[in-house]
């Protein structure tokens, strides 16, 4: 026997103090009687003492016992018990949805085998049930009986997300070396690389299955304002023989592209469709059907394919005039005096020229030569008569295709180091172009003025301006970059998300949205019920490769040694608390009965 908190035993020293306090408080009641003669005759039990005197009957001792039990319970007593805690790990990743030649899915077979393995266990300890995707986790507190564990296993379903192999390997390794686990049963599509730790009992259901899959489905607009989109799809053939795959892309239910491609064994190809007509939701389907239906379909959305509305706030609103010449761009100019934060609700992005908002805007924003002393962004500004560009990030979206050598700048301002914005373009005196994200919004700050927009008359500056607008409007990027099992930040204004299954989940802008286990189109619902689609795909060819699942490298101590039961602490606190409650109830009952009897007698 031991104690989790042996320090609490010092409270035993308080019991005599409590008894003394009881004595001090327990002053006798004063009763005037006709004569004390008869009481004087009882001198044998008359006691003169400090404050009062406990009647040393069983009630007093019962109360001292209750106090002692309370102190004992505080110390957390436990005894060591031999037990064989069991960890059951069931692979619920997307690959487990694959159908086997028997017609059953890998997941069903794994569960059957797991059930059979559990039926021979003696259940001499707790059973913890874990799933692997999207991240390994325990589905519930440990079960006491095998029946509970088997019932819990029967309710698990595979999800559309892949396993994180490295995390899974680490997780299994930790379990294999965990002292509190006697045995680990892992049932999954991946076999374990030898040597297999002694504590792990693997159940592999990863028999090779021929499969073809769509790897990625991306859409991009190559020219700002253009109607048509460019679609790229990666397809793979994981069968051991050459297969002709047929890909059909539909946009809002109408076929917009079709291709047929013969792929050799374990060959991958990228299909390009340069002029896909605009649609809200695109779906790509691969034929013929095979073992894993999940990766024969992929989705993409054209959420970014729309006109861009810009609020231009400047003391010189005329600078915005040139922007209206960009196809798909609509600009509304305001002076800082007439600007209100509520105005932003109807615009996709905002540009503040020589001005800054008084609070962080709720849309993506560009700051052009902000004045010094701005408290919202905290930019350190050093005005300069002539700014010189000294360097830039070559791989950045903002600097893409910009010929900085031809860029001629006059006066401007340098920025100091910023806490959350990074430097994209720099000069001798500091940063000239910063970008960063805050509160799920993108921000760009320039120390020079790219306006008015002159088009081809100042091509480098125009390209830079278009890059900035594209970056802030989310244009040109991948619209199918979201993968199952990978949480994303809920965009600004989103109140709830409708999952592909139709379930509705609340969302808070700027926080991670984690219900991303399903493949399909998620509807992001904003103010007024406006829905923005977002495609989430498996997009993991490693997961789709059902012919050669990688081996899991699991490390564990005592490889090859016998599995031994572990000693577990079994708490006695529950029993002690039960005893306290029973004793207290018994005392209360007896006191009540005594009072009733006294009342009846009087």
């Amino acid at each position: 026997m031991g104690f989790l908190y042996p320090g609490a035993l010092v409270f035993f020293a308080l019991i005599p103090a409590l008894v003394l306090a009881y004595l001090a408080k327990e002053r006798p009641s004063r009763v005037t009687v006709s004569s004390v003669m008869a009481f004087r005759a009882l001198r044998g039990f008359r006691r003169e003492r400090f404050g009062g005197w406990p009647r040393l009957d069983w009630m007093f001792f019962a109360e001292v016992l209750i106090l002692s039990l309370v102190v004992l319970a505080l110390a957390g007593p436990f005894i060591w018990q031999r037990s064989a805690p069991l960890a059951v790990v069931l692979d619920n990743s997307a690959a487990m949805q694959a159908l086997t030649p028997s017609g059953k899915s890998r997941f069903d077979i794994a569960r059957e085998k797991l059930d059979a393995a559990l039926s021979v266990e003696d259940g001499g300890g707790e059973i913890s049930v874990y799933v692997t995707a999207p991240q390994p986790r325990r589905i519930a507190p440990p079960f006491i009986t095998l029946t509970e564990a088997r019932l819990a296993l029967s309710q698990i379903k595979p999800i559309d997300a892949p396993n994180d192999q490295t995390t899974l390997e680490n997780f299994l390794s930790n379990l294999a070396s965990e002292a509190r686990v006697a045995k680990v049963i892992f049932a999954g599509s991946n076999a374990l690389a030898p040597p297999v730790p002694a504590r792990i009992h693997p159940i592999a259901v990863g028999d090779a299955v021929a499969n073809a899959a769509i790897g990625s489905f991306t859409l991009r607009r190559e020219v700002l304002g253009a109607e048509a989109l460019h679609a790229s799809l990666t397809i793979a053939n994981f069968s051991p023989e050459t297969r002709t795959l047929e890909l059909t892309v539909t946009g809002d239910g109408k076929e917009v592209a079709h291709a047929r491609e013969a792929l050799g064994a374990r060959e991958t190809a990228t299909l390009e469709f340069p002029a896909i007509p605009p649609a809200r939701i695109y779906e790509a389907r691969l034929a013929p059907d095979d073992a894993l239906a999940l990766d024969n379909v992929a989705y993409a959305t054209a959420g970014s394919v729309k006109n861009v509305s810009i609020l231009f706030v400047s003391p010189t609103p005329a600078d915005a005039a040139g922007l209206n010449s960009i196809p798909g761009v609509a600009v509304t100019a305001r002076t800082p005096d007439s600007y209100s934060p509520d105005d932003l609700e109807t615009f996709d992005l905002a540009i503040f020229e020589y001005a800054t908002p008084k609070e962080l805007p709720g849309v993506n924003t560009m700051l052009v030569m902000p004045p010094p002393g701005d408290p919202v962004f905290g930019l350190t500004v050093t005005p300069t008569a002539k700014v010189e560009i000294a360097g830039w990030r070559t791989t950045d979206t903002l600097t893409d295709s910009v010929n900085f050598r031809l860029l001629s700048l006059r006066g401007g301002e340098y920025f100091g180091t910023h806490p959350w914005m990074i430097q994209v373009v720099g000069g001798d005196g500091g940063a000239l172009l910063l970008k960063g994200e805050r509160g799920a919004h993108r921000f760009v700050a320039t120390g020079f003025n790219p306006f008015p927009y002159l088009g081809r008359r100042n091509l480098p500056m125009s390209v830079l301006t278009l890059n900035a607008i594209s970056y802030l409007a989310g244009l040109g990027g991948s619209s199918s970059g979201y993968r199952t099992g990978q949480p994303w930040l809920a965009p600004a204004g989103v109140e709830r998300v409708i999952l592909p299954s139709g379930k509705k989940k609340a969302a808070r802008p700027g926080t991670l949205f984690t219900d991303v286990s399903e493949q399909g189109v998620y509807e992001l619902v904003g103010p007024g019920g406006v829905q923005t689609p977002r495609a989430v795909n498996l997009a993991d060819l490693t997961e789709s490769d059902l012919a050669s699942s990688p081996l899991l490298k699991v490390e564990g101590a005592n490889a090859g040694s016998a599995v031994e039961p572990v000693m577990q602490k079994s708490s006695l606190s529950d029993y002690i608390l039960l005893g306290i409650i029973l004793l207290t109830a018994l005392e209360a009952l007896i006191v009540y009965r005594r009072r009733r009897l006294a009342e009846a007698a009087s």
Partner: protein, 299 residues
């Protein structure tokens, strides 16, 4: 009814009227009554002879005896007089505790009932209070049953209180009594036994026919209401005792109280005194009717 306590119902009064005070010796009264007097008188009950003296009422000459003895003898008859009844009620502070037991009220009921028996029998009653608050009663005899209301009114003004020395107080009272008679002492007798015996002994020494009526509370006798650590305070002396009372101690206390009453009863019986114990948790009327003999009464 009519100024009497509620216990004095017409039925109860009727039963009291059938009772009379019984004495073990004859006492001279102050007027004619129903009790034989040590005086010779004119009742129908023959007592003795004496030689005729001139002036004697020759109606009482026993002519038959004259014929046999040739001497004149006068027949003497027993005198029947009223009985002087003294009722002493203990009104010390102890009679007021425990308050719920109504000991003093019970003592007053007992005294009034005894007084009514005496008055209804044509005896004279002097009601005296030992201790107490509210003034002393008039130290004079009353007679006539209608005076019971007056006595009840006087008793109602009394409140128990104060401390008194039983023996000394009775000695004072005895000194003021000029004629012997029947004495009732109604008290809880919760005092030193020596004081009780001295007090009662003085009356027996003065040829008084004495009845001791002990009034105890039901709760008082059983120690009810006392539990755990208790500091008991003597209602008269103010003496304090700290005691722990449980079931065992309560039993011991009760046995002690009963032993004290037995000692008083034993003393009374040995001295030829009447003794009766009334505990207030019993019905007063039933007690009085059943304890007629112990109270020194007779039908």
């Amino acid at each position: 009814m009519f100024g009497l306590p509620d216990e004095f119902t017409p039925g109860f009064l009727a039963r009291l009227e059938k009772l009379r005070i019984r004495t073990r010796q004859r006492y001279a009264g102050l007027g004619r009554g129903m009790h034989l007097s040590p005086k010779r008188g004119s009742s129908l009950e023959f007592n003795d002879y004496r030689h005729y003296s001139p002036g004697d009422d020759f109606r009482y000459i026993d002519w038959g005896l004259y014929g046999r003895s040739d001497k004149l003898y006068i027949k003497l008859f027993q005198e029947e007089e009223d009985l002087l009844t003294y009722i002493f009620v203990d009104a010390s502070a102890s009679m007021g505790f425990p308050a719920g037991d109504r000991k003093f009220e019970s003592a007053m009921l007992t005294a009034l009932a005894l007084a009514y028996v005496a008055l209804a029998s044509g005896d004279r009653v002097m009601l005296r209070v030992l201790g107490g608050k509210g003034g002393k009663l008039n130290p004079s005899f009353v007679n006539g049953r209608h005076r019971i209301v007056e006595l009840a009114r006087r008793l109602a003004d009394l409140k128990p209180g104060g401390q008194f020395d039983f023996a000394a107080s009775l000695a004072t009272e005895l000194h003021s009594i000029r004629r012997a008679g029947k004495v009732f002492i109604v008290s809880d007798f919760l005092m030193l036994f020596n004081s009780v015996t001295r007090g009662l002994g003085m009356f027996t020494a003065a040829s008084m026919d004495l009845t001791a009526v002990q009034i105890l509370g039901g709760r008082e006798l059983n120690g009810q209401g006392l539990d755990g650590d208790v500091e008991v305070i003597d209602s008269e002396s103010g003496e304090r005792l700290r005691v722990s009372i449980g079931e065992r101690e309560r039993t011991q206390y009760r046995e002690t109280m009963l032993r004290l009453t037995r000692e008083i009863k034993s003393f009374c019986l040995k001295r030829g005194l009447h003794y009766s114990l009334y505990t207030t948790d019993h019905d007063f009327q039933q007690f009085f009717v059943r304890a007629v003999r112990d109270l020194g009464l007779a039908h």
